[in-house]
């Protein structure tokens, strides 16, 4: 017990903050981008929809290292786009926190997009028609009618997106690397200390990420449940 306390006192907590920050920023970006993409895909024709949906879902079904490979292909400083971004705009993705966000965002995006789309497709079209005939603007209809109606799906999408982004490992390690205090996330720290045979520290980090992920999911579930108490259970 004394030993654990000693480790906790001297532990470098930077992975915790980096993971939380990454998860949060990636979730905010995915929230808006996912909703916007869901709406755009819904408006597409049948074939375009099947194609684009497939493309957007790929990061969810492929190993994260595949996403990492493509991200490196784009953003590596030795590649045209990557070098252009760095030289012309001073934007560096590889080995930076931006890379963490990008990797986590790309991997967790399908969760937001798919949940949002499924939720929007369930919204009763008559509600939207009613809003239009009543003179509500399209944006008012979206934020005040569609989004609340699609609430459950959007909330669960957001929860899953955050949980996924928080724990992202594969693509992050390839794109952002594991630079302590900069890009070293909890999942990468766990892998690193395990390699050094330090099971106690690894266990502590496992406990921390377990607590956070589980806690957030439970709290958001409770919150979502309270908001949807009128929905009948089956």
């Amino acid at each position: 017990m004394q030993e654990i306390w000693e480790i906790l006192k001297t532990l470098d907590y930077s992975p915790l903050w980096i993971s939380l920050k990454t998860g949060l920023v990636a979730t905010v970006i995915c929230f808006f981008l996912g909703i916007w993409t869901a709406r755009s895909v819904m408006r597409m024709g049948k074939r375009a929809k099947a194609f684009v949906d497939g493309l957007l879902t790929l990061p969810m079904v492929l190993p994260p290292t595949v996403a990492g490979f493509f991200l490196l292909l784009i953003f590596s400083l030795r590649r045209p786009i990557g070098s252009f971004l760095y030289e012309e705009l001073s934007i560096k993705v590889v080995q930076t926190w931006l890379g963490c966000i990008l990797a986590a965002g790309v991997i967790s995006f399908p969760l937001m997009y798919r949940n949002a789309r499924a939720a929007f497709e369930q919204v009763d079209i008559e509600l939207i028609y009613a809003g239009r005939t009543l003179g509500m603007s399209e944006s008012a209809i979206f934020w005040r009618v569609v989004l609340p109606s699609a609430g459950p799906g959007v909330v669960s999408g957001t929860i899953l997106t955050f949980a996924r982004a928080l724990g992202e490992y594969g693509a992050t390690s390839m794109l952002a690397g594991n630079i302590a205090g900069k890009t070293g996330t909890i999942s990468q720290r766990i892998a690193m200390v395990i390699q050094n045979g330090d099971y106690l520290t690894a266990g502590l980090w496992v406990a921390i990420i377990l607590l956070i992920s589980f806690g957030i999911v439970v709290v958001m579930n409770l919150f979502a449940d309270a908001k949807m108490k009128h929905i009948k259970k089956w």
Binding site: L127, A130, G131, T133, G135, S137, A140, V145, S149
Partner: protein, 353 residues
């Protein structure tokens, strides 16, 4: 105040082809389910787009495919009462009504309007409830209130009583009727119920597989339908092929009968019909009497429904007689039945236009 609609739209299975012009007051669109009634309303409201045609409300062009005019629903000033009300489930009654006041920018005016609407529709005390906490009648009142809040120039009612129980129906029909009487503009009522149409509207347009028939007075439509389709949609159970054999005599082979009738002008007669409630037992020798065998008889709520087989005929007739008169007519018995000539409807199968 007038609304003229002339639209065509290809739908699954048939083409919507609507043409009518409604004046202020209630005009009904009567048709079987799937005949394109709701789609017509949606095109007028602007939430669906016709393939071609024009919609003009009081000189204001809402839609014109040739002139490439297609006003968004928000700018049409057309109210829509949805079949299941489409109240916003996440908003309170007050917020729902406020949604109807979206176009009113002035907060003070909005408050005044909102308050007068709430008292007009007897919604005091329900302001903070959400739709799922309301009864069917209250929901309809909120929906009416919300629709009228934006002061539309025309209102469209899509099967307004379909979601209500029969005892509530009567009460709400009376309330809606009063609301409609106070409404100065054009009101379109969509229904598949001839009784509702008869009670609520003065003019009616029949829709048959997406095609509209000429506008008629409601009373005329029910008493003197001119086409077979209209007779069927208005609930005529006895419609059979027929031919005119004299100025005022119609021959009906299926019933093995030649019946006296009141001649109509124009149109080639292909069918004849009579409503079930006009057929009654009579003495032999009465004008337009048929000897029939009672093939089947069953009790309805307030009448006895008989299936009659005329002597020598191939088709059956359906008659609804009073319970007292029907008692004696058991299955298998033979009796004379009168088909009064003023109730014989002479019909043509083709559309008049």
């Amino acid at each position: 105040m007038s609304l003229s609609v002339q639209i065509a739209k290809r739908l699954q299975g048939f083409t919507l082809n609507i043409s009518f012009s409604a004046e202020a007051g209630v005009t009904a669109l009567l048709g079987a389910s799937g005949s394109g009634k709701s789609m017509t309303l949606r095109c007028i409201a602007g939430v669906e787009k016709p393939d071609e045609g024009s919609i003009v409300l009081d000189g204001r062009v809402l839609y014109d495919s040739k002139a490439k005019i297609d006003l968004p629903p928000q700018a049409r000033k057309v109210g829509y009462l949805f079949q299941r009300y489409a109240l916003f489930p996440n908003m309170t009654v007050l917020q729902n009504i406020d949604a109807g006041l979206s176009l009113e920018r002035d907060a003070h005016a909005r408050k005044t309007k909102r308050e007068s609407l709430i008292s007009r529709f007897h919604l005091e005390g329900l302001e903070e409830r959400v739709p799922r906490e309301l009864s069917g009648g209250q929901m309809q009142r909120v929906a009416l209130c919300r629709m009228l809040a934006g002061e539309p120039e025309a209102i469209l009612l899509d099967e307004p009583f379909a979601a209500l129980d029969s005892h509530l129906r009567w009460q709400m029909e009376a309330e809606v009727k009063q609301t409609l009487a106070e409404f100065p503009g054009v009101a379109l009522l969509v229904s598949h119920d001839r009784g509702e149409v008869y009670r609520m509207s003065r003019r009616v347009c029949v829709l048959n597989m997406g095609a509209s028939e000429p506008l008629l007075d409601t009373a005329e439509l029910l008493d003197r339908p001119r086409t077979l389709q209209t007779a069927l949609i208005t609930g005529c159970k006895n419609c059979v092929p027929a031919e005119m054999i004299a100025q005022s005599t119609v021959r009906i082979p299926d019933w093995n009968a030649a019946l006296g009738c009141v001649p109509t002008k124009g149109g080639s007669i292909t069918h004849a019909g009579i409503r079930a409630q006009y057929i009654s037992p009579c003495e032999p020798g009465t004008e337009n009497a048929l000897l029939c065998r009672v093939a089947d008889a069953e009790d309805d709520v307030f009448s006895r429904v008989l299936t009659l087989k005329p002597a020598g005929g191939t088709a059956t007739l359906r008659a609804e007689v009073g319970k007292a008169a029907g008692e004696a007519l058991c299955i298998g018995s033979e009796a004379w039945f009168c088909l009064p000539k003023e109730h014989i409807m002479l019909l043509s199968e083709t559309h008049e236009n």
